[in-house]
Symmetry: C2
Protein backbone atom coordinates (compact mmCIF):
# COMPACT_ATOMS: atom_id res chain seq x y z
CA UNK A 1 0.00 0.00 0.00
CA UNK A 2 1.52 3.33 -1.07
CA UNK A 3 0.16 6.47 0.57
CA UNK A 4 1.38 9.96 -0.26
CA UNK A 5 2.78 12.12 2.53
CA UNK A 6 0.01 14.77 2.60
CA UNK A 7 -2.52 11.96 3.08
CA UNK A 8 -0.45 10.47 5.93
CA UNK A 9 -0.33 13.90 7.58
CA UNK A 10 -4.11 14.21 7.32
CA UNK A 11 -4.65 10.68 8.67
CA UNK A 12 -3.22 11.82 12.03
CA UNK A 13 -5.78 14.61 12.13
CA UNK A 14 -8.57 12.24 11.05
CA UNK A 15 -7.77 9.85 13.88
CA UNK A 16 -7.86 12.66 16.49
CA UNK A 17 -11.26 13.87 15.28
CA UNK A 18 -12.66 10.33 14.87
CA UNK A 19 -11.72 9.47 18.46
CA UNK A 20 -13.61 12.59 19.59
CA UNK A 21 -16.61 11.56 17.48
CA UNK A 22 -16.48 8.07 19.00
CA UNK A 23 -16.45 9.58 22.50
CA UNK A 24 -19.61 11.49 21.53
CA UNK A 25 -21.18 8.02 20.89
CA UNK A 26 -21.72 8.77 17.19
CA UNK A 27 -21.61 5.56 15.13
CA UNK A 28 -21.42 6.96 11.58
CA UNK A 29 -19.88 10.08 10.12
CA UNK A 30 -20.21 11.59 6.65
CA UNK A 31 -17.31 12.97 4.62
CA UNK A 32 -19.12 16.34 4.85
CA UNK A 33 -19.08 16.33 8.67
CA UNK A 34 -15.47 15.12 8.80
CA UNK A 35 -14.49 17.77 6.26
CA UNK A 36 -16.38 20.43 8.20
CA UNK A 37 -14.67 19.52 11.50
CA UNK A 38 -11.24 19.41 9.85
CA UNK A 39 -11.45 22.31 7.46
CA UNK A 40 -10.84 19.99 4.50
CA UNK A 41 -13.16 19.45 1.51
CA UNK A 42 -15.37 16.29 1.58
CA UNK A 43 -13.75 15.37 -1.76
CA UNK A 44 -10.29 15.27 -0.13
CA UNK A 45 -11.66 13.12 2.71
CA UNK A 46 -13.24 10.66 0.26
CA UNK A 47 -10.08 10.52 -1.86
CA UNK A 48 -7.85 9.95 1.19
CA UNK A 49 -10.06 7.18 2.52
CA UNK A 50 -10.37 5.23 -0.72
CA UNK A 51 -6.92 3.76 0.03
CA UNK A 52 -8.65 1.63 2.65
CA UNK A 53 -11.36 0.52 0.26
CA UNK A 54 -13.58 2.64 2.54
CA UNK A 55 -16.22 4.31 0.41
CA UNK A 56 -18.79 4.86 3.17
CA UNK A 57 -22.44 3.89 3.03
CA UNK A 58 -24.84 6.11 1.13
CA UNK A 59 -26.93 8.21 3.50
CA UNK A 60 -25.02 6.91 6.52
CA UNK A 61 -21.38 7.74 5.91
CA UNK A 62 -18.38 5.92 7.36
CA UNK A 63 -18.59 3.55 10.31
CA UNK A 64 -16.54 5.46 12.92
CA UNK A 65 -15.19 2.36 14.73
CA UNK A 66 -14.16 0.63 11.51
CA UNK A 67 -12.50 3.75 10.14
CA UNK A 68 -10.53 4.28 13.38
CA UNK A 69 -9.37 0.66 13.30
CA UNK A 70 -8.22 0.93 9.66
CA UNK A 71 -6.40 4.22 10.10
CA UNK A 72 -4.75 3.04 13.32
CA UNK A 73 -3.58 -0.06 11.48
CA UNK A 74 -1.92 2.02 8.75
CA UNK A 75 -0.41 4.44 11.26
CA UNK A 76 1.01 1.65 13.42
CA UNK A 77 -1.09 2.73 16.40
CA UNK A 78 -2.32 -0.80 17.14
CA UNK A 79 1.07 -1.57 18.57
CA UNK A 80 0.84 -0.04 22.07
CA UNK A 81 3.92 1.94 23.03
CA UNK A 82 5.31 2.82 26.42
CA UNK A 83 6.32 6.42 26.89
CA UNK A 84 8.25 8.35 29.52
CA UNK A 85 8.13 12.10 30.16
CA UNK A 86 11.39 13.73 31.20
CA UNK A 87 10.67 17.01 32.99
CA UNK A 88 7.62 17.23 35.27
CA UNK A 89 7.27 20.90 34.36
CA UNK A 90 4.13 22.75 33.25
CA UNK A 91 4.82 21.53 29.72
CA UNK A 92 5.18 17.93 30.90
CA UNK A 93 1.91 18.21 32.84
CA UNK A 94 0.20 19.93 29.93
CA UNK A 95 1.20 17.17 27.51
CA UNK A 96 0.05 14.47 29.91
CA UNK A 97 -3.35 16.15 30.27
CA UNK A 98 -3.60 17.26 26.67
CA UNK A 99 -2.81 14.18 24.68
CA UNK A 100 -5.29 11.43 25.16
CA UNK A 101 -2.34 9.04 25.38
CA UNK A 102 -4.33 5.90 26.22
CA UNK A 103 -6.83 6.15 23.38
CA UNK A 104 -4.00 7.04 21.00
CA UNK A 105 -2.23 3.76 21.82
CA UNK A 106 0.33 5.03 24.35
CA UNK A 107 0.92 3.98 27.95
CA UNK A 108 2.55 6.57 30.17
CA UNK A 109 5.03 4.41 32.08
CA UNK A 110 7.38 6.83 33.86
CA UNK A 111 8.03 10.49 34.66
CA UNK A 112 11.42 11.90 35.66
CA UNK A 113 12.60 15.18 37.13
CA UNK A 114 15.46 16.57 39.20
CA UNK A 115 13.49 18.81 41.59
CA UNK A 116 13.34 17.25 45.06
CA UNK A 117 9.85 18.68 45.71
CA UNK A 118 8.50 16.80 42.68
CA UNK A 119 10.17 13.41 43.26
CA UNK A 120 7.71 10.98 44.79
CA UNK A 121 4.62 13.01 43.87
CA UNK A 122 2.05 11.40 41.60
CA UNK A 123 0.93 12.65 38.17
CA UNK A 124 -1.89 10.75 36.48
CA UNK A 125 -1.17 7.82 38.80
CA UNK A 126 2.56 7.71 37.96
CA UNK A 127 5.14 8.50 40.64
CA UNK A 128 7.78 11.04 39.58
CA UNK A 129 11.26 9.45 39.79
CA UNK A 130 14.65 11.12 39.96
CA UNK A 131 16.36 11.52 36.60
CA UNK A 132 19.32 9.50 37.96
CA UNK A 133 17.09 6.41 37.85
CA UNK A 134 16.06 7.08 34.25
CA UNK A 135 18.31 4.64 32.41
CA UNK A 136 17.50 1.79 34.80
CA UNK A 137 13.71 2.38 34.66
CA UNK A 138 13.68 2.81 30.85
CA UNK A 139 15.47 -0.55 30.47
CA UNK A 140 13.35 -2.33 33.07
CA UNK A 141 10.02 -1.12 31.71
CA UNK A 142 11.06 -1.41 28.08
CA UNK A 143 10.03 2.15 27.25
CA UNK A 144 9.87 3.00 23.51
CA UNK A 145 9.49 6.78 23.40
CA UNK A 146 10.93 9.56 25.54
CA UNK A 147 9.26 12.99 25.67
CA UNK A 148 11.80 15.66 26.53
CA UNK A 149 10.47 18.81 28.20
CA UNK A 150 13.66 19.84 30.05
CA UNK A 151 15.63 23.03 29.35
CA UNK A 152 17.53 23.21 26.07
CA UNK A 153 20.91 23.06 27.84
CA UNK A 154 20.11 19.60 29.24
CA UNK A 155 18.17 18.20 26.30
CA UNK A 156 21.00 16.54 24.33
CA UNK A 157 22.40 14.87 27.46
CA UNK A 158 18.96 13.52 28.39
CA UNK A 159 18.49 12.29 24.81
CA UNK A 160 21.86 10.51 24.81
CA UNK A 161 20.95 8.73 28.06
CA UNK A 162 17.51 7.76 26.72
CA UNK A 163 19.09 6.30 23.58
CA UNK A 164 21.75 4.44 25.59
CA UNK A 165 18.92 2.90 27.64
CA UNK A 166 17.15 1.66 24.50
CA UNK A 167 14.55 4.29 23.62
CA UNK A 168 13.76 4.22 19.88
CA UNK A 169 11.84 7.47 19.49
CA UNK A 170 12.24 10.95 20.98
CA UNK A 171 9.69 13.77 21.00
CA UNK A 172 11.74 16.84 21.87
CA UNK A 173 10.12 20.06 23.12
CA UNK A 174 13.36 21.77 24.15
CA UNK A 175 13.88 24.59 21.62
CA UNK A 176 17.00 23.04 20.10
CA UNK A 177 17.70 20.39 17.50
CA UNK A 178 18.64 17.13 19.19
CA UNK A 179 20.96 14.82 17.30
CA UNK A 180 20.28 11.11 17.25
CA UNK A 181 21.72 8.09 15.39
CA UNK A 182 19.80 6.99 12.28
CA UNK A 183 18.27 4.06 14.18
CA UNK A 184 16.36 6.46 16.45
CA UNK A 185 13.36 8.49 15.32
CA UNK A 186 13.34 12.11 16.42
CA UNK A 187 10.63 14.75 16.30
CA UNK A 188 11.90 18.19 17.28
CA UNK A 189 8.91 20.36 18.21
CA UNK A 190 9.67 24.06 18.36
CA UNK A 191 6.49 25.73 19.58
CA UNK A 192 7.76 29.30 19.10
CA UNK A 193 7.63 28.72 15.35
CA UNK A 194 3.82 28.61 15.43
CA UNK A 195 3.54 32.06 16.96
CA UNK A 196 6.13 33.57 14.62
CA UNK A 197 4.44 32.14 11.55
CA UNK A 198 1.12 33.64 12.70
CA UNK A 199 2.84 37.01 13.06
CA UNK A 200 4.38 36.64 9.60
CA UNK A 201 0.96 36.04 8.03
CA UNK A 202 -0.50 39.03 9.88
CA UNK A 203 2.36 41.20 8.55
CA UNK A 204 1.77 39.92 5.02
CA UNK A 205 -1.95 40.66 5.34
CA UNK A 206 -1.13 44.24 6.39
CA UNK A 207 1.30 44.69 3.52
CA UNK A 208 -1.23 43.08 1.16
CA UNK A 209 1.59 40.83 -0.05
CA UNK A 210 3.37 43.74 -1.71
CA UNK A 211 6.78 43.44 -0.10
CA UNK A 212 7.29 39.73 0.46
CA UNK A 213 5.74 37.17 -1.84
CA UNK A 214 5.59 33.49 -1.04
CA UNK A 215 6.03 30.99 -3.83
Amino acid sequence: MIICKPTIDRLFLYICILLQIQEEKQEFVSSEELGDRLGVTPQTIRKDLTVFGQFGKKGKGYCVGELIWNIEEVLGLHCRRKIAVIGASHLGWALMNYCNFTSMGFDLAAIFDVAQNKIGSSINGIIVSHIDQMEEVIREKNIDIGIITVLEFDAQEVADKLIAAGVRGIWNFAPCQIKVPSTVQIKNENLSVGLSSLSFHLARQTLAGKEVGVL
Copy 2:
Protein backbone atom coordinates in the same frame (compact mmCIF):
# COMPACT_ATOMS: atom_id res chain seq x y z
CA MET B 1 11.17 39.85 -2.78
CA ILE B 2 9.85 36.36 -3.52
CA ILE B 3 10.75 33.62 -1.04
CA CYS B 4 9.64 30.00 -1.41
CA LYS B 5 7.63 28.41 1.41
CA PRO B 6 10.26 25.89 2.59
CA THR B 7 12.71 28.79 3.03
CA ILE B 8 10.09 30.76 5.00
CA ASP B 9 9.54 27.71 7.25
CA ARG B 10 13.28 27.44 7.87
CA LEU B 11 13.60 31.18 8.57
CA PHE B 12 11.46 30.69 11.70
CA LEU B 13 13.89 28.03 12.90
CA TYR B 14 16.90 30.19 11.98
CA ILE B 15 15.57 33.07 14.06
CA CYS B 16 15.05 30.83 17.14
CA ILE B 17 18.59 29.49 16.94
CA LEU B 18 20.12 32.90 16.13
CA LEU B 19 18.46 34.42 19.20
CA GLN B 20 20.01 31.63 21.29
CA ILE B 21 23.41 32.28 19.71
CA GLN B 22 23.02 36.01 20.44
CA GLU B 23 22.22 35.21 24.09
CA GLU B 24 25.45 33.21 24.19
CA LYS B 25 27.20 36.50 23.22
CA GLN B 26 28.53 35.06 19.96
CA GLU B 27 28.93 37.79 17.33
CA PHE B 28 29.47 35.74 14.17
CA VAL B 29 28.19 32.36 13.07
CA SER B 30 29.23 30.20 10.12
CA SER B 31 26.78 28.39 7.83
CA GLU B 32 28.43 25.17 9.09
CA GLU B 33 27.57 25.93 12.73
CA LEU B 34 24.05 27.07 11.86
CA GLY B 35 23.54 23.96 9.76
CA ASP B 36 24.92 21.76 12.52
CA ARG B 37 22.60 23.28 15.14
CA LEU B 38 19.59 22.99 12.82
CA GLY B 39 20.22 19.65 11.14
CA VAL B 40 20.34 21.36 7.72
CA THR B 41 23.24 21.36 5.26
CA PRO B 42 25.45 24.49 5.17
CA GLN B 43 24.61 24.71 1.45
CA THR B 44 20.90 25.07 2.25
CA ILE B 45 21.66 27.75 4.84
CA ARG B 46 23.79 29.71 2.35
CA LYS B 47 21.14 29.37 -0.38
CA ASP B 48 18.34 30.49 1.95
CA LEU B 49 20.29 33.51 3.14
CA THR B 50 21.33 34.79 -0.28
CA VAL B 51 17.84 36.33 -0.59
CA PHE B 52 19.02 38.94 1.90
CA GLY B 53 22.19 39.61 -0.03
CA GLN B 54 23.84 38.02 3.03
CA PHE B 55 26.83 36.03 1.90
CA GLY B 56 28.72 36.06 5.15
CA LYS B 57 32.33 37.08 5.61
CA LYS B 58 35.05 34.59 4.71
CA GLY B 59 36.54 33.06 7.84
CA LYS B 60 34.04 34.89 10.08
CA GLY B 61 30.60 33.86 8.89
CA TYR B 62 27.41 35.87 9.29
CA CYS B 63 27.05 38.77 11.70
CA VAL B 64 24.44 37.38 14.13
CA GLY B 65 22.80 40.71 14.98
CA GLU B 66 22.53 41.77 11.34
CA LEU B 67 21.12 38.41 10.30
CA ILE B 68 18.51 38.50 13.07
CA TRP B 69 17.46 42.00 12.02
CA ASN B 70 17.12 41.00 8.36
CA ILE B 71 15.16 37.82 9.04
CA GLU B 72 12.90 39.57 11.54
CA GLU B 73 12.22 42.25 8.93
CA VAL B 74 11.13 39.65 6.38
CA LEU B 75 9.06 37.72 8.92
CA GLY B 76 7.26 40.84 10.13
CA LEU B 77 8.67 40.43 13.65
CA HIS B 78 9.79 44.04 13.91
CA CYS B 79 6.21 45.02 14.39
CA ARG B 80 5.63 44.22 18.10
CA ARG B 81 2.37 42.41 18.75
CA LYS B 82 0.26 42.20 21.86
CA ILE B 83 -0.90 38.75 22.81
CA ALA B 84 -3.40 37.33 25.28
CA VAL B 85 -3.51 33.79 26.67
CA ILE B 86 -6.95 32.33 27.29
CA GLY B 87 -6.74 29.50 29.80
CA ALA B 88 -4.25 29.80 32.68
CA SER B 89 -3.79 26.02 32.61
CA HIS B 90 -0.53 24.06 32.61
CA LEU B 91 -0.40 24.53 28.84
CA GLY B 92 -0.95 28.29 29.16
CA TRP B 93 1.82 28.47 31.79
CA ALA B 94 4.09 26.24 29.72
CA LEU B 95 3.71 28.44 26.64
CA MET B 96 4.36 31.58 28.64
CA ASN B 97 7.56 30.09 30.05
CA TYR B 98 8.55 28.30 26.88
CA CYS B 99 8.29 30.91 24.19
CA ASN B 100 10.66 33.75 24.66
CA PHE B 101 7.81 36.07 23.74
CA THR B 102 9.65 39.34 24.34
CA SER B 103 12.70 38.56 22.22
CA MET B 104 10.42 37.17 19.50
CA GLY B 105 8.58 40.52 19.28
CA PHE B 106 5.51 39.74 21.40
CA ASP B 107 4.20 41.47 24.50
CA LEU B 108 2.05 39.34 26.79
CA ALA B 109 -0.73 41.81 27.65
CA ALA B 110 -3.46 39.71 29.32
CA ILE B 111 -4.36 36.26 30.69
CA PHE B 112 -7.91 35.01 31.19
CA ASP B 113 -9.46 32.07 32.99
CA VAL B 114 -12.76 31.08 34.61
CA ALA B 115 -11.38 29.37 37.76
CA GLN B 116 -11.96 31.61 40.80
CA ASN B 117 -8.73 30.41 42.46
CA LYS B 118 -6.70 31.68 39.48
CA ILE B 119 -8.38 35.08 39.00
CA GLY B 120 -6.26 37.82 40.52
CA SER B 121 -3.10 35.72 40.72
CA SER B 122 -0.05 36.87 38.79
CA ILE B 123 1.76 35.00 36.01
CA ASN B 124 4.93 36.58 34.60
CA GLY B 125 3.77 39.88 36.08
CA ILE B 126 0.33 39.76 34.46
CA ILE B 127 -2.79 39.48 36.63
CA VAL B 128 -5.20 36.72 35.54
CA SER B 129 -8.60 38.24 34.68
CA HIS B 130 -12.00 36.56 34.44
CA ILE B 131 -12.94 35.49 30.94
CA ASP B 132 -16.08 37.67 31.19
CA GLN B 133 -13.81 40.71 30.94
CA MET B 134 -12.03 39.35 27.89
CA GLU B 135 -13.76 41.35 25.15
CA GLU B 136 -13.44 44.64 27.04
CA VAL B 137 -9.73 44.12 27.84
CA ILE B 138 -8.88 42.94 24.29
CA ARG B 139 -10.46 46.12 22.88
CA GLU B 140 -8.93 48.41 25.46
CA LYS B 141 -5.40 47.03 25.12
CA ASN B 142 -5.62 46.58 21.36
CA ILE B 143 -4.50 42.94 21.50
CA ASP B 144 -3.56 41.38 18.14
CA ILE B 145 -3.26 37.65 18.85
CA GLY B 146 -5.19 35.31 21.16
CA ILE B 147 -3.66 32.01 22.31
CA ILE B 148 -6.40 29.52 23.12
CA THR B 149 -5.53 26.79 25.63
CA VAL B 150 -9.08 26.09 26.91
CA LEU B 151 -10.93 22.77 26.45
CA GLU B 152 -12.07 21.91 22.95
CA PHE B 153 -15.75 22.36 23.88
CA ASP B 154 -15.19 26.03 24.71
CA ALA B 155 -12.61 26.84 22.03
CA GLN B 156 -14.92 28.02 19.21
CA GLU B 157 -16.93 30.26 21.56
CA VAL B 158 -13.74 31.83 22.92
CA ALA B 159 -12.48 32.34 19.35
CA ASP B 160 -15.73 34.00 18.29
CA LYS B 161 -15.51 36.42 21.22
CA LEU B 162 -11.83 37.17 20.49
CA ILE B 163 -12.66 37.96 16.87
CA ALA B 164 -15.64 40.12 17.84
CA ALA B 165 -13.29 42.07 20.12
CA GLY B 166 -10.87 42.72 17.24
CA VAL B 167 -8.20 40.02 17.49
CA ARG B 168 -6.60 39.38 14.06
CA GLY B 169 -4.75 36.15 14.75
CA ILE B 170 -5.52 33.02 16.79
CA TRP B 171 -3.10 30.30 17.91
CA ASN B 172 -5.36 27.44 18.92
CA PHE B 173 -4.12 24.56 21.11
CA ALA B 174 -7.55 23.02 21.72
CA PRO B 175 -7.57 19.75 19.74
CA CYS B 176 -10.26 20.91 17.33
CA GLN B 177 -10.32 22.96 14.15
CA ILE B 178 -11.53 26.47 14.92
CA LYS B 179 -13.33 28.32 12.15
CA VAL B 180 -12.57 31.96 11.52
CA PRO B 181 -13.50 34.51 8.84
CA SER B 182 -10.96 35.00 6.05
CA THR B 183 -9.80 38.29 7.60
CA VAL B 184 -8.48 36.43 10.67
CA GLN B 185 -5.33 34.28 10.64
CA ILE B 186 -5.63 30.95 12.44
CA LYS B 187 -3.02 28.39 13.41
CA ASN B 188 -4.56 25.21 14.77
CA GLU B 189 -1.90 23.31 16.72
CA ASN B 190 -2.76 19.69 17.46
CA LEU B 191 0.05 18.37 19.62
CA SER B 192 -1.17 14.75 19.59
CA VAL B 193 -0.22 14.57 15.92
CA GLY B 194 3.47 14.80 16.82
CA LEU B 195 3.35 11.72 19.02
CA SER B 196 1.31 9.71 16.52
CA SER B 197 3.64 10.56 13.68
CA LEU B 198 6.59 9.39 15.78
CA SER B 199 4.78 6.11 16.42
CA PHE B 200 4.04 5.78 12.71
CA HIS B 201 7.71 6.13 11.81
CA LEU B 202 8.67 3.59 14.49
CA ALA B 203 6.14 1.13 13.04
CA ARG B 204 7.49 1.72 9.53
CA GLN B 205 11.03 1.16 10.75
CA THR B 206 9.95 -2.18 12.28
CA LEU B 207 8.18 -3.23 9.10
CA ALA B 208 11.19 -2.01 7.10
CA GLY B 209 8.72 -0.16 4.87
CA LYS B 210 7.30 -3.37 3.46
CA GLU B 211 3.63 -2.86 4.25
CA VAL B 212 3.06 0.86 3.95
CA GLY B 213 5.13 2.95 1.58
CA VAL B 214 5.17 6.72 1.66
CA LEU B 215 5.38 8.58 -1.62
